[in-house]
Amino acid sequence: MQRLTHLDRLEAESIHIMREVVAEATNPVMLYSVGKDSAVMLHLARKAFYPAPPPFPLLHVDTTWKFRDMYALRDKAAKAAGMELLVYQNPEAVERGINPFDHGPLHTDMWKTDGLKQALDKWQFDAAFGGARRDEEKSRAKERIFSFRTATHGWDPKNQRPELWNLYNARKNKGESIRVFPLSNWTELDIWQYIMKEGIEIVPLYMAAPRPTVERDGLLLMVDDDRFPLRPGEEPVMRSIRFRTLGCYPLTGAVESTAATLSEVVQEMLLTTTSERQGRAIDKDAGGAGMEKKKQEGYF
């Protein structure tokens, strides 16, 4: 008998999910955020459809405020996969110059939440893969693998379809769409282990290196380009840092670290006691129910 490891079983499940979507949806897309979860999801898609390229495009809902390293890897990864890369920037946010320094929560609302809705509407995608995991956050733990959105992109947590065995009901009415989470059952450690096992390229920012930083509002921020407005008295300091999660650079807190290799990163992660999303400002809105509220509004 051949024994399958937990990674084997997770991989097989994710591939099965992706193939079901391709078989049943008319116009699927993969949301690609360039983070480590996206990297794993893209890798799984390549495996699922090999030797064909994944039969759907990648969509990056861009905020124009990602780290430079992320933009570089994004273009490279799409090319390597032989996939079309669609980049969408909310035109209203472009016009109004929405940025995380001056506009607070509006930054996420307009670039990400509205941007995503607009992009899905623009290309009429009826199924969108996302890299969210159930272990990330409490309300995610209850979300289905196939999660339905109304024509206005709303999520109704009380009215989710029961999901039995590995039978996914992908049928939907006109205008409705599905968000599909093939990594639902992966944990952060699984992601790291799989990246190591498969040799998946990730953004170098996950590994520690000396980088220019400032400390602000309890977060350690990286000064990634000259759009970063320094406050009086602030002076970028070189620190050895890495990121546990990657978003817009002015909103993503770094951790001080010397872990420069993957196994050192995992070692640090296992010994650390601060959970992953803590580095992001978004979950702290609206008390403990922050993410659930965001999702009802259509955030991925």
């Binding site: 008998m1 090999y50 009380k158 029961p162 039978l167 296992l270 006691t273 403990g288």
Partner: protein, 646 residues
């Protein structure tokens, strides 16, 4: 942190190894197995507390989450000053306010030996469907009992459901032992009670463990100092070592439902799917079911390199040595032991929708990668999940569980659920709302479906039609009572007859008085009425006739069912569109008056709905078109469009 009772027996992770030799640690962890289990119990049994404890002890709670937990515990917790682990696992805001869990939540933790996925579902009877959902992917079930209360009705319900869904490993976790002074007598009494009941429903074995989720006894190590009399494993020990069915699944003959045909270019044609049972190697003889065509495995393709062997649980792409027909929905199986195909089954059906099962109505049935139209007959009986009695039932409501006959519109590849979850489990989908409304587990196919072979008719429908010199068609008139269906249909038939066509008109008068005189006007009877009319219509069109029908036929699903029975293009839906107030003011038969006065029940348009056709082939607006003009138009369309050159 001082109020929290911590486990004396350390956590599961070897911090030292992580710190000193991370690569060895990762090696170890990369090769762990996976166990999926479900916890069954209600709020009061301390289920969330137990799961919170497992997460806490395996360090799946991080510092910031712990801080939030401490704050929440002080604010809304039910454990006084101590940490309320339940708050950690109760996710949605509404639930937190009500203090109960209402959905299926999945949790993750890992020990040295295994990674675990826990399905956490609510215990109350109104959440039976949630529990069935959580159990469907589980290898093991932890049945929680409050030591102070013993075996309750809900314990029986949970055990029955776990058994029903085919979970072979049951743990009876007798919780809150701290509140009964860790009494062996109490524990033994509960185990004896449970054993008696378990035997009754066919549970062959279970593992009883006395625990305290709150205090941590016998969770990670056993026996705890408080239960020196206990000789079995700790909960974690058991979860880490219980042998799951991987070996059994691999020992069965090969089954791979085809999900997707991979055809990037003319030189490559691969069949992608998840192997549900058995193993496969290049050179193996396989059979594609239902066609029965045989071939040989050429290669097992993956992105790294071709594999020498693949086993149950892996997602692969297979290529065959022959160019044979094979597409999504087919099953690639061991050539010498293929599964069967059938179109009629006995199954246990669990209903999951607020809207009750409508016997006879068409639903989508999805089994493995096959989706077909199916009907469910009136249940043979419903099972009372508390008493396990068999009750007579006409339908199944939300959370109802019954044994029913299921008929599909074409044969599907299946196996009994007891042999294969993948080929024996199905879901039912409402055709209008697209909601998942039920789940089923096949017991066996019905003999009559296996043994009835279609009589290959020498004189077929083509021959019948050719002799009459016409193309068969079904003119399906639908509309409210008094809308003018029969009037127009009669005129159409006269004109067709005059034009030398062979026709037959079916309406309420010639059907309700004979073939369907046993049917009334309830929703179920109306559906059966239309189903029979559909079958008669189909036979008549096979005989080469142009059939006209004039029935209210208020439900879209039934009209679509008849459409699906006939060859494409033969069903012509004619919507006689008369507004309710117009039909009611005509009231030729005085029926509307009776319905308004309550003498007639279930009258369409009054107290029973009429679902308008969304895209009828022909729509007649009777407020603007006379019956004569309408008939003229229909005949013109029919003879112009559908009649072949003579």
């Amino acid at each position: 942190m001082t109020e929290m009772p911590t486990t004396p027996d350390v956590a599961y992770k070897v911090d030292a190894l992580i710190a000193e030799d991370i690569d060895s640690y990762l090696d170890l962890h990369q090769n762990k197995g996976l166990l999926r289990f479900i916890t069954c119990g209600s709020v009061d049994d301390g289920k969330s507390t137990l799961i919170g404890r497992l997460l806490y002890d395996s360090k799946m709670i991080f510092e910031d989450q712990l801080a939030a937990l401490e704050a929440d515990s002080a604010r809304v917790g039910t454990q006084g000053k101590a940490i309320d682990f339940a708050l950690l696992v109760d996710g949605l805001a509404a639930e937190r306010e009500q203090g109960i869990t209402i959905d299926v939540a999945y949790r993750f933790f890992a020990t040295e030996k295994r990674k675990f996925i826990v399905a956490d579902t609510p215990g109350h009877e109104q959440y039976t469907r949630n529990m069935v959902t959580g159990a469907s992917t589980a290898d093991l079930a932890v049945i929680l009992i409050d030591a102070r209360k013993g075996v309750l009705v809900q314990t029986r319900r949970h055990s029955f459901l776990a058994h029903l869904i085919g979970i072979r490993h049951l743990v009876l976790a007798v919780n809150k032992m701290d509140l009964v002074d860790y009494s062996q007598e109490v524990f033994d009494g509960i185990v004896a009670d449970y054993a008696a009941f378990a035997k009754e429903i066919g549970i062959e074995q279970f593992t009883p463990i006395p625990i305290s989720g709150f205090m941590g006894d016998n969770i990670t190590a056993a026996p705890s100092a408080n239960t020196p009399w206990y000789t079995g494993p700790s909960l974690i020990d058991h979860l880490e070592t219980v042998e799951i069915e991987g070996a059994a699944a691999q020992a069965r003959p090969l089954r791979m439902p085809v999900q997707w045909v991979n055809r990037p270019n003319l030189d490559f044609r691969g069949f992608s799917g998840l192997i549900s049972e058995g193993t496969v190697k290049p050179g193996d003889a396989v059979r594609v079911i239902p066609s029965g065509k045989t071939s040989t495995i050429k290669s097992i393709v993956t992105m790294g390199a071709d594999l020498d062997e693949a086993v149950a649980g892996q997602s692969v792409t297979l290529t065959l040595t022959d160019e044979i027909d094979c597409s999504r929905g087919d099953v690639i199986a061991a050539a010498e032991a293929p599964p069967q195909a059938a179109d009629q089954f006995e199954a246990t059906v669990v209903w999951m929708s607020d809207e009750a099962l409508i016997p006879g109505r068409g639903y989508w049935l999805k089994l493995a990668t096959q989706t077909v139209s199916a009907t469910v007959a009136q249940p043979k009986y419903e099972i009372d999940v508390n008493s396990l009695e068999h009750l007579a039932a006409k339908t199944l409501g939300l959370n109802g569980i019954g044994v029913c006959e299921v008929t599909t519109d074409r044969p599907i590849v299946f196996e009994p659920y007891a042999d294969s979850r993948a080929l024996g489990g199905f879901i039912l989908i409402d055709k209008l709302t697209n909601a998942t409304v039920g789940a089923g587990m096949i017991h066996f196919s019905l003999r009559r479906a296996q043994n009835v072979h279609w009589q290959a008719l020498e004189v077929g429908r083509q021959a019948h039609a050719a002799l009459k010199g016409q193309q068969p068609a079904v003119l399906w008139f639908t509309g409210l009572s008094g809308s003018g269906k029969s009037t127009i249909a009669n005129l159409v038939e006269k004109k067709l007859h005059a034009a030398g066509r062979h026709t037959f008109l079916l309406d309420g008068d010639n059907v309700r008085h004979g073939l369907n005189k046993d049917l009334g006007f309830t929703e179920t009877d109306r559906i059966e009425n239309i189903r029979r009319v559909g079958e008669v219509t189909k036979l008549m069109s096979d005989a080469g006739l142009i059939v006209l029908t004039a029935f209210i036929s208020p439900f879209r699903a039934e009209r679509e069912m008849v459409r699906a029975m006939l060859p494409a293009g033969e069903f012509i839906e004619i919507f006689v569109d008369t507004p309710l107030e117009v039909a009611e003011s005509r009231d030729v038969k005085g029926l509307y008056r009776k319905a308004r006065e309550g003498e007639l029940k279930n009258f369409t348009g009054i107290d029973s709905p009429y679902e308008r056709p969304e895209a009828p082939e022909i729509r007649i607006d009777t407020t603007r078109t006379s019956p004569e003009a309408a008939a003229e138009l229909i005949v013109e369309r029919l003879l112009g469009q559908w009649v072949p050159e003579l």
